[in-house]
Subunit: 405 residues, 2 copies
């Protein structure tokens, strides 16, 4: 089940203040088996059935509408036989809103030389216990069926920017290699679709555009997927080590060509600036480990730039991380931001102290803050699109981020 | 400021069901500068200004009325100059209910051969950066003034069960050694009181009964403290490595002799069974790191005994940790226990999985559960004392704990 409604776009306008060229940004509403998702949206990553360091109730409180699970990791631990007993991932991890699962393709690709790819699938050794394992498009679909995710992803090969094969390691992927890889992913897409049907999976399956850094291969990939008519389309193989200008080039080429009436998902991207660029190029859905991983490393996002909590300058600072933020870390139980006079939030000095002492509460509060920042950014994007002032919003976003904390 | 009201006791009774001998258990109400504490009470330990892995709001939700801070640790990090800027520990750690701080005596004692005790105080090297430091009764009072804890503890020497001095290491402390140590603590008690007055600290100062495993020394210590007329009395130097029967012997001797109209605090104790024994012997206040430390090691308390979440038997178990528990881990956001039909809690299978994957959410939920168990146990003790059925409660407590999970 998937329904996608386009609610607003970002047209060119001419006002007394000047002309605005518009963008490919879209405001949408996605209905899935476990609920409705307002787009554009950021999806927190819950690899092992938990968004690291964050309670499900905190995710709800910060407005998370859909979270991710990683098929490969959940297959390893706890295994599908455990999750099947719970009727899927929702009841196991106590999250009753929508879930998207990846296919496991990216994780087996990341194993590098430890895995061997053939037409049939990927042979590899379990990083957990060394068992010889085989992951195919069909098996990926079977696992995702057991997880009962609202959105399953096709099993694909993530074309690397630099080769990880023993013979060509470190070399930039050639057009030939990118084509072979993209065509393999297309054949796998078809097998995924067939298996999804055979399993009578009531959820939605997304196809993934591959083709490396080559625009014409991206076009061929998209055309192939459109023949299969997936209900949603993702862009994969970006943010995989390529220089930023290549990512932007491919995004600007592919984003606007994605089918208008379907949701568009940019996989594994990225910084706040990347998300805004994605929205400008027609992306509706994002996921990234950056907010939670950076939180655990003491790098905090804020409206006015990023902040390293380990820095000694925060030692006695009574301000919260972000004076405009209403997250539990910055605004406490009242939810009133510092800028609006709230004084219930935790100070930079306290967070600095927690970090210095290696106290768990540090990454707990930091993870809440960073995820809230990402989710709120997307809320502001939606509000701006609803109000027809997305261009002005983007201008303000960049000015604010450049101000500094 | 301290007011202590005795609300109920546990008298001997004769009913058609049989005779009950009564106990020294007391139900009380303690009023401090930051609020009222219903006793008997367990106080979660927040060493570095955070109860490890638990948000202040979670502590409030589980009914924590007063928490601890460790003077020694907070002196090392972040230091009094930081906490002074916040006007004390309450605003720094965002906890607006009462706080008790220890004196630092136990921690410098724990440094073993790294410290040197004299009449004046204790010389030692900072375990954080190696700085030569000197802690005296006066300095302890000055730090606790800066922390602005509702209850400050006198600086004392914790008499060890086995000697840690180079010459006598590992030998059971002699009567002579225990006497010298106890008398030193008494002299320090007087100095603490004088410094507390000089600083015009508006909070309460507790004296600490020492004397090792010797009943007559405990009596002398208590008599000395009573001359100084502290508003509250603690029992220290128990649960410091002695066999359990020695602890019980001293507790049973000292507890009932403590002044009736003052609150009684048993320091650093202990298991759920220890807490019940403490209450039976007239103790009103307890603290211990056991619930949070055990939580991080995967040992969970429950009404029906303790549980090791790492054990493979939990792999597919859909039950919560404790079917009668209403904590967030066991009963989720609804707060309805499994036994009452609630199904919002996290399963043993999920907690087992989190532990196996080393996910932060595991110790987060386990810490909430274990603290809730301790706090709820004290709530049940208070309810039983209010209802005049403490004897029956204790019987049921032991029967339940023996049942097994």
């Amino acid at each position: 089940m998937l329904k996608f409604e386009l609610l607003a776009t970002d047209p060119a306008t001419t006002t007394p203040e000047g002309s605005y060229l518009g963008s490919h940004a879209r405001r949408g509403r996605l209905t899935l088996n476990h609920g409705v998702v307002q787009t554009p949206i950021f999806m927190p990553v819950g690899t092992y059935g938990t968004v690291k360091g964050v309670m499900p109730r905190s995710l709800e409180e910060m407005g998370a509408q859909i979270i991710l699970g990683n098929t490969f990791h959940l297959w390893m631990r706890p295994g599908t036989e455990v999750i099947s007993q719970f009727g899927g991932l929702h009841d196991f991890e106590k999250w009753d809103k929508p879930i998207l699962t990846d296919s496991g393709g990216f994780q087996v690709w990341s194993l590098g030389e430890m895995r061997k790819i053939s037409e049939e699938g990927v042979k590899f050794s379990s990083p957990v216990n060394g068992d010889k394992l085989f992951l195919t498009p069909e098996i990926s679909m079977q696992i995702q069926r057991a997880l009962n995710s609202d959105i399953a992803m096709q099993f694909d090969e993530c074309t690397p920017y630099l080769s990880v094969e023993p013979k060509t390691k470190g070399q930039v992927t050639t057009e030939r290699e990118a084509r072979d890889s993209m065509e393999l992913s297309l054949r796998w897409a078809k097998r995924c679709q067939a298996e999804m049907d055979r399993l009578e999976n009531p959820n939605a399956l997304f196809g993934i555009v591959q083709g490396g850094m080559f625009e014409h291969l991206r076009d061929e990939s998209l055309a192939g997927l459109e023949e299969l008519d997936f209900p949603g389309i993702a862009v994969g193989g970006l943010s995989v080590g390529e220089p930023k200008e290549h990512m932007m080039r491919v995004l600007q080429h592919v984003g606007p060509k994605l089918p208008k009436h379907k949701p568009h998902y940019l996989m594994g991207v990225g910084t706040p600036e990347d998300l805004i660029a994605g929205v400008q190029n027609g992306i509706d859905m994002f996921d990234c480990v950056m907010p939670t991983r950076n939180a655990r490393n003491g790098t905090l996002f804020s409206r006015f730039g990023d902040l390293k909590i380990r820095n000694a300058r925060h030692k006695t600072d009574k301000q919260p991380l972000d004076e405009t933020c209403t997250c539990h870390a910055c605004a406490g139980t009242s939810g009133v931001s510092w800028a609006n006079g709230g004084r219930d939030g935790f100070s930079r000095a306290y967070l600095h102290h927690l970090d210095r002492c290696g106290e768990m509460l540090g990454p707990m509060l930091a993870s809440i803050h960073n995820l809230h920042y990402y989710l709120n950014l997307m809320q502001e994007v939606r509000d701006a699109l609803d109000a027809g002032r997305f261009g002005a919003f983007v201008k303000q976003f960049h000015a604010d981020r450049a101000r500094g904390v």
